[in-house]
Amino acid sequence: MSPIFNEPFLAALLTGAIISALPLILAGLGEQMSERAGVMNIGLEGMMMAGALAGFAATLAGLGVWGGLLAGALVGAAVSVIMVLFCVRQGMNQIIVGIAITLGATGVTSLMHNAWYSRTYPRLDAAEKIALPGLSQIPVLGPGLFTHHPATWAGLLVALAFALIYRQTFLGLNLAAAGEKPDALDAAGIDVTRTRSLAVLIAGAMAGLGGAYMAVIGSGIFVPHMTGGAGYIAIVLAMLARDRPFWVVGGALLFGLCLSATTALQVGGIEVPTDFIQMLPFLAVMAVLVLFGRNARLPRALGQPYHRGQR
């Protein structure tokens, strides 16, 4: 093996994989919840952009990393209110409203960047990392996997929390029912609109959080269009993972590893056109759809508005 594949380099690759996976994990988990409840959120990308700008601005204003993440989540949720009002309450077309949100948020954040940051390019200080005692000492894997900003762990904990919600709480059942058979949920005495609204708001918050993580911890800087399609990848991850949060995590990590592998191959001097490597994750998704598509069943009521008593 080439001498460049030393331990720190591998660690950096792993770190990079995790850092680029985390926004996908957060947004993907949010989308998963929204889809579980029957609302397809194509506006995820826009919510991530909004969250990225908000998180960056808040951290820059001195609120710290956690303040930035919170701001991102709040703004993401605020943007998703549009989705709640138009799609959940009024039953409008979710794809159209989603595209509108993405276009609008991309445009607005680009304009704001131009107005506020384009002359100074402010950068944030590095979000300090915490090495998990013991684990981070594991050779080769330890440093890359277990030395991160605590928010990274919080992000992974969300997956655990969601899994618990889905498996262990009535909320989880309610969400699944809202996406599968909303009339049955309604008949059981639970407000479908409220359940779906909650899911959409959480999806918005998670997407905003993902964007904020990208800007505050991932890059430390905000530039227009910086989410670069991560929202769509998150949607795909959510669809493929269906109701299993850890599949979102796994898929996102795999995606991150793909990106890091690109760097590894290049730094190692192996000539593979980057375009091909960039294509791999999407090809993989298509392959999964072709092979397991029949199983990748979406919630029955996905995309369909619910109105009580309508035949």
Partner: protein, 358 residues
């Protein structure tokens, strides 16, 4: 996706009392509201909205040169509009349109210069366009098959195919199709004199007639032909399609492949008319710009022409405004986003009013 057709109900395809003016009138109010709202954003960010809009109209519409640019700019958007009319009216979401466009452009870029060397352009260009259309149809096939055979949502597979297309076209150019004389990764260039002829004394090539023809053809196909009626029934009520003996899987394949062929054709026409060559970095994302326009037009071909025209004025004008007034071009995204939201609102208000009358 039955709800998609719910939204489309606004199209009221066969209501004769509106004709093609109806959708226009219904869309005018949200357009005004969106202009005002986006103007507020401009004002907040320190630009004068009146000056901006004035500049856009002056540069994109009133100046002869700008108007020509606007018309040329419309060509791919119109053909893509036709592609989306076919798909949306059939209740299918061909969001892989950008990938089909790229494949069509690439194929035309790879074939047109060679064909033009071998045949006269009267033969070469149509052949290149056919090749582009075929490539677009082929690119639409995987999502179409997945949808028709296994009922897998075409939105997600379409988006995937678009992302793959962006990388694939770049890789194909770099590895196999690169013009050896150029440093940039791009295909051979179709000489200016071999491209689609220009209207005398203008920058406008005859692609605009192809585009107008196609969008109207798409409209007529959907609204006047037997095939179009079958497609629409598929979108409006798949159960009725089965009941009436129309094969739903076959219709699904036909719709998505036809839409894909038009998507590919859009790229081929733009390449043979304007671009002349395909660059590895070329992904203009027209599809996502056209989706909202087709909705604003309520899937009516005539209204699509009007909205594409207005959008082109905005694009050409805002490119100038970016130069002179310092408002980034991304402002057009804000405007379109607002347009969609206000359109959705007016749709809702309309439903409410109608419900009250009943």
């Amino acid at each position: 996706m039955t709800e998609s057709t719910e939204f489309l109900s606004g199209a009221r395809p066969a209501a004769p009392r509106f004709g093609f003016l109806g959708p226009l009138v219904l869309a005018l109010l949200p357009v005004l509201a969106a202009l005002v709202a986006a103007g507020l954003v401009l004002a907040v960010l320190g630009s004068d909205p009146i000056e901006y809009y004035g500049y856009v109209v002056e540069r994109g519409l009133l100046r002869w040169r700008g108007l020509q640019a606007t018309v040329v700019n419309m060509v791919p958007l119109l053909i893509l509009g036709g592609a989306l009319i076919v798909s949306f009216r059939s209740g299918l979401w061909n969001l892989g349109i950008d990938g089909q466009y790229l494949l069509g452009t690439l194929t035309a870029g790879a074939t047109a210069p060679l064909l033009a060397g071998a045949f006269s352009s009267i033969v070469a260009l149509p052949l290149a366009m056919l090749a582009g259309a075929a490539a677009g149809a082929l690119w639409a096939l995987p999502p179409a098959l997945l949808r028709a055979r296994a009922g897998i949502n075409e939105v997600i597979s379409g988006l995937m195919m678009s992302l793959i297309a962006a990388s694939l076209t770049a890789a194909a150019i770099k590895l196999w199709l690169k013009d050896p004389a150029s440093l940039e990764p791009q295909t051979l260039t179709l000489p200016v004199e071999d491209r689609l002829p220009l209207l005398a004394g203008t920058d406008i090539n005859i692609g605009i007639f192809i585009a107008l023809g196609l969008v109207i053809a798409a409209h007529v196909l959907m609204m006047r032909s037997a095939t179009g009626l079958r497609f629409r029934i598929l979108g409006l009520n798949p159960l009725a399609a089965t009941h009436a003996g129309l094969g739903v899987p076959k219709l699904t394949l036909s719709v998505l492949c036809l839409s894909g062929a038009l998507g590919g054709l859009a790229g081929a026409v733009e390449l043979t008319g304007v671009l002349g060559k395909m660059q590895a970095s070329w992904h203009p994302g027209y599809g996502f710009a056209v989706v909202p326009l087709v909705f604003l037009a309520r899937m009516n071909g005539w209204a699509v022409i009007v909205f594409v025209f207005a959008f082109s004025v905005l694009q050409i004008g805002s490119a100038s405004a970016a130069t002179r007034l310092g408002v980034p071009q991304d402002f057009t995204l804000v405007l379109v986003g607002f347009l969609l939201l206000f359109l959705a609102l007016s749709e809702y208000a309309g439903e409410r009013l109608r419900a009250r009358k009943v």
